[in-house]
């Protein structure tokens, strides 16, 4: 369990995030949606430790610090390292000892054959999957995804979304992710948090989760419309 309590970070009196409290049970996924500038990324950066909160805390259920892993919108792979070396970047100790683990993970994410290539030689989707492997190898308590599919084409987007759902089903990781896409939020989020003006206004339980075929059903798109209405109401 990850417990976010009374988290506040203000840029000005009207900008920032204000008193956010949220429990994410172990191995569950929460999607955060909301209009631009509502504080979604600020929330993620605060949880990741990239920003200092004015007040509040992020802890495990036992009150320990949370080990987070962040996948950013722009993959942020180091261009001078091969895909494999990027995956091993955060690993401590000898590279050799983690080689097999890294290759297995890359294989699961469908990027094993890109191991020796530089990021510039990879497609956008491959880069984002390598970035995901780089984060997952560190076994975070909480996986943070900051609009991971925003810069991808439709096909790569779907591949990555399917992959993320497969991870949630086979090797679940507690996940908090931010997205602009209502479809993505419904496909990947067990609960969807609607944010506006730095606060969580509503929580939407996702009855369609988890269904790898969800996008083939009419119900899914009806649910997208419902979510859009909820979002409009919150904004």
């Amino acid at each position: 369990m990850v417990r976010i309590q009374n988290l506040t970070h203000t840029y000005s009196s009207s900008r920032g995030i204000f008193d956010i409290t949220l429990d994410i049970p172990a191995f569950q996924t929460r999607a955060v949606i909301g209009p631009s500038g509502c504080g979604k990324s600020t929330l993620l950066h605060l949880v990741a430790g990239l920003l200092e909160p004015d007040s509040g805390s992020v802890q495990t259920g036992e009150g320990k610090p949370v080990k987070t892993g962040l996948v950013q919108q722009k993959d942020a792979l180091y261009p001078w390292l091969s895909a494999l070396d990027n995956v091993l970047l955060g690993v401590n100790g000898k590279k050799r000892e983690h080689l097999e683990e890294a290759m297995t993970l890359m294989d699961e994410l469908g990027v094993a054959e890109t191991a020796d290539r530089y990021p510039a030689q990879l497609s956008g989707g491959e880069r984002q999957r390598v970035s995901l492997a780089r984060t997952l190898i560190l076994k975070p308590d909480l996986l943070l995804l900051d609009e991971p599919t925003a810069s991808l084409d439709d096909f790569s987007k779907e591949v990555l979304q399917n992959l993320l759902l497969r991870i949630q089903l086979n090797k679940p990781v507690t996940t908090l992710f931010v997205t602009h896409s209502l479809e993505e939020a419904l496909f990947l989020g067990q609960e969807i948090l609607i944010m506006s003006e730095g606060k969580i206004h509503r929580t939407h339980r996702n009855s369609l989760y988890p269904d790898p075929e969800a996008r083939d059903h009419k119900d899914f798109y009806q649910e997208v419309l419902n979510l859009r209405e909820s979002l409009k109401a919150a904004v």
Partner: protein, 246 residues
């Protein structure tokens, strides 16, 4: 002939064409024909003494470049990443950078003697400030996402230095090195005009004083070829050290 060699050949033909044009219009006593200069140059190379002058110049420039790169990398990186250090160091850099270092030559001569050391140090002062600024700016231009990645992946200082700061500054460092070669050659030409009888600067000025223009131009040509070879070497080295760029 591959594309690169063809392009080089075209460049040589253009320069030779312009050179012939100047020789014809100004007169070949002042600007000798390229073929005459080439013939003198080959004769002098055959005798070995022109190569010896080039070797002395190359050694002085290489020593200054190497002595500048080694401290410029860590110092430039520290200046780029540490706002505290940058606050006092950058103003010092900006004050020293535009100074005409050649004006301090007498002081260098008194402090370090008339030999190679004072010449190399003079070159060093010109080159190092340029490299420091290039490395500092290289570190400053690292995208925020890379810093965030370093933070969230828990990279320690050593790992950040070797895996983030150092490789990210290398392309800017190579650009600055290429610029330094041009400026270094000009400074070297000046520095080799005192207390030495070896070096292309000495050779060119000596030929000038003796009003032997074909020999003077042969020296200039060798200087240009030497600079071309150093720049080509730097391009090659950059491809080896920064393979991700290609």
């Amino acid at each position: 002939m591959n594309k690169k060699n063809r392009e080089l050949m075209i460049g040589v033909i253009i320069i030779a064409g312009l050179w012939y044009l100047l020789s014809f219009t100004i007169g070949n006593r002042l600007i000798p024909f390229p073929h005459d200069v080439l013939s003198v140059m080959l004769q002098l190379i055959g005798k070995g003494n022109l190569l010896l002058h080039a070797l002395f110049s190359l050694l002085r420039l290489s020593a200054a470049l190497l002595a500048a790169v080694l401290p410029a990398l860590p110092l430039g990186i520290i200046t780029g990443i540490s706002p505290g250090f940058d606050r006092f160091f950058s103003p010092v850099l900006y004050l020293l950078y535009p100074l005409p270092k050649i004006a301090f030559l007498p002081i260098f001569m008194v402090l370090f003697g008339l030999g190679d050391l004072s010449k190399i140090l003079l070159l060093w002062t010109v080159i190092i400030l340029q490299l420091l600024i290039a490395v500092r700016d290289g570190v400053r231009s690292i995208p925020t996402e890379y810093h965030r990645a370093a933070e969230t992946l828990g990279l320690n200082r050593m790992k950040r230095f070797w895996k983030l700061y150092m490789p990210s500054t290398l392309p800017s460092l190579f650009s600055a090195l290429r610029i330094s070669v041009g400026i270094g050659m000009a400074v070297l030409f000046f520095a080799e005009n005192y207390a030495t009888s070896y070096g292309l600067g000495y050779f060119i000025m000596n030929s000038w004083v003796m009003i032997n223009y074909p020999m003077m131009f042969a020296g200039i040509l060798v200087l240009a070829i030497l600079a071309f070879l150093i720049l080509t070497f730097l391009d090659w080295l950059q491809k080896i050290i920064c393979p991700w760029e290609s």
